[in-house]
Symmetry: C2
Subunit: 208 residues, 2 copies
C-alpha cells in the first residue's frame, strides 16, 4: 500500500493559512489533521483526541526521550507537542496528514521528514498583507511595522519550501493545494510498489 | 514572467498515450504541441507549421551542428527532428510545451532539459496490455510476446521518470496530468521571480 503524504502548510501571519487549511480539510475529509499532545488538564467540553491528546507528564517526557515529537514546547508549566507517532500511524495506513505549522517549526520538520510536501502560502503582496492587518484596526503603526518586518523574514524562509501558493482567493488556493497533493501521490518514487507489481510472478504468468 | 513547462509524455506501446495527449491538448488548448521538423517535401494538403516544419537540408544540417535538435533521425533520405529551438521559443514566452516521445528519446531529453516534467503512462496491468494488443487481432502469438517483452523493458525505464500515471480511464489520466502540470508550476524554484517581487523597491516603499 502507498504511504500517505505529510502535507505541511505554513505562511506569514495574516496570510490566511487557517482558513485555507479548514477549507482543504472540508473538501478532503479523509485527510488526518495533526492534533497536538499536551499535559495540561482538559477543559470542560474538551475531548481526548479532538482538541488535544491529553497525556501525563511522564508519558510526555518518555516520548521526548524516544524522539516521538516533531517539536514540542513548555508553556506555563504545561507541555505541548506535535506527535510524530500519531502522524506516522496515519501515514503508514496510507492516509494523508495535514500539518499547519510556523516557518521555524517547518524547517525542523523538513529535516525529520524529507519526503513531506512543503507548501508555503503567500499573501497576494506585502501591500495586501499590510492592508489586511491594518483593517483589523487592532495594531499600532509600530506593531504593524514589526509584523510586516517579521512577515518579510518569513517569506524569505518560504524559498526553502517546495511549493508556493498565493492566497488571493481561498477557493483557488485550495484547488492548487489539491493539485499539489494529487501530483505528489503520482511521483514514481512514491509508487515503486506499483512498478514491482507489474513484474510480479502472477502478472508474468498470466501474460505468457 | 514564469517560463513554460516542458511536459514530456511516454509510455509503452498500447498504453494509449496518443489518445491521452489529444484529450489533454483539447482541455489545455494554450499548450504548444511540439511539431517535428523535416526536410521532405510537403504532401498535398500539408501546411508548414501544422503537420511539420518544412526546412531545407542545409537548414537542417546547420541546426544539427548548432545542437538545435532534441533528437533527429534520417529516414529514407529525409531528416526528421524534434526542434529544440521551437520548444525554447514557446517556453520562453511562458507557454507550456507537450512532447509525446518514446522512452529512448525521453532519456536523451531528460539530459538536455533537466527541469522538464517527465510523465510515464502505464497500462492498468500487463494482462490488460496483452488483451488490448490481442483484441486488435492483427498480431501473431509470437509478435504478441515480443511486444509484451518490449513493453516490460519500457516499463522498467519508466522508473526514471518523475511521475507515473495509470491509464485506466482517459478522463482520469488527463485529470492527473493536469494536476501534475498545475503543481509543477507552483514549485518554488519556478517562482523565484515571485519572491523577488515581494522585496522589490516599490513593494517595500508602499509598505512603510
Amino acid at each position: 500500500m502507498q504511504k500517505g503524504l505529510l502535507i505541511l502548510i505554513s505562511g506569514a501571519s495574516g496570510t490566511g493559512k487557517g482558513t485555507v487549511c479548514k477549507k482543504f480539510l472540508s473538501e478532503m475529509p479523509e485527510t488526518y489533521y495533526s492534533i497536538s499532545a499536551t499535559t495540561r488538564q482538559p477543559r470542560e467540553g474538551e475531548t481526548d483526541g479532538v482538541e488535544y491528546f491529553f497525556i501525563t507528564v511522564e508519558e510526555f517526557k518518555k516520548k521526548i526521550a524516544e524522539g516521538k515529537f516533531l517539536e514540542y514546547a513548555e508553556v506555563y508549566g504545561n507541555f505541548y507537542g506535535t506527535p510524530l507517532y500519531k502522524i506516522e500511524e496515519h501515514l503508514n495506513r496510507g492516509e494523508n496528514v495535514l500539518l499547519e505549522i510556523d516557518t521555524q517549526g517547518a524547517l525542523n520538520v523538513m529535516k525529520k521528514i524529507p519526503d513531506g510536501v512543503y507548501i508555503f502560502l503567500l499573501p497576494p503582496s506585502l501591500e495586501e498583507l499590510y492592508n489586511r492587518i491594518k483593517n483589523r484596526g487592532t495594531e499600532s503603526e509600530e506593531d504593524l511595522r514589526r509584523r510586516l518586518d517579521s512577515a518579510r523574514q518569513e517569506i524569505e524562509v518560504g524559498k526553502k519550501y517546495q511549493y508556493a501558493v498565493i492566497n488571493d482567493s481561498v477557493d483557488l488556493a485550495v484547488e492548487k493545494i489539491k493539485s499539489i497533493v494529487a501530483a505528489e501521490s503520482l511521483k514514481v518514487e512514491r509508487q515503486l510498489e506499483l512498478f514491482q507489481n507489474f513484474f510480479s510472478k502472477r502478472g508474468a504468468l498470466r501474460c505468457q
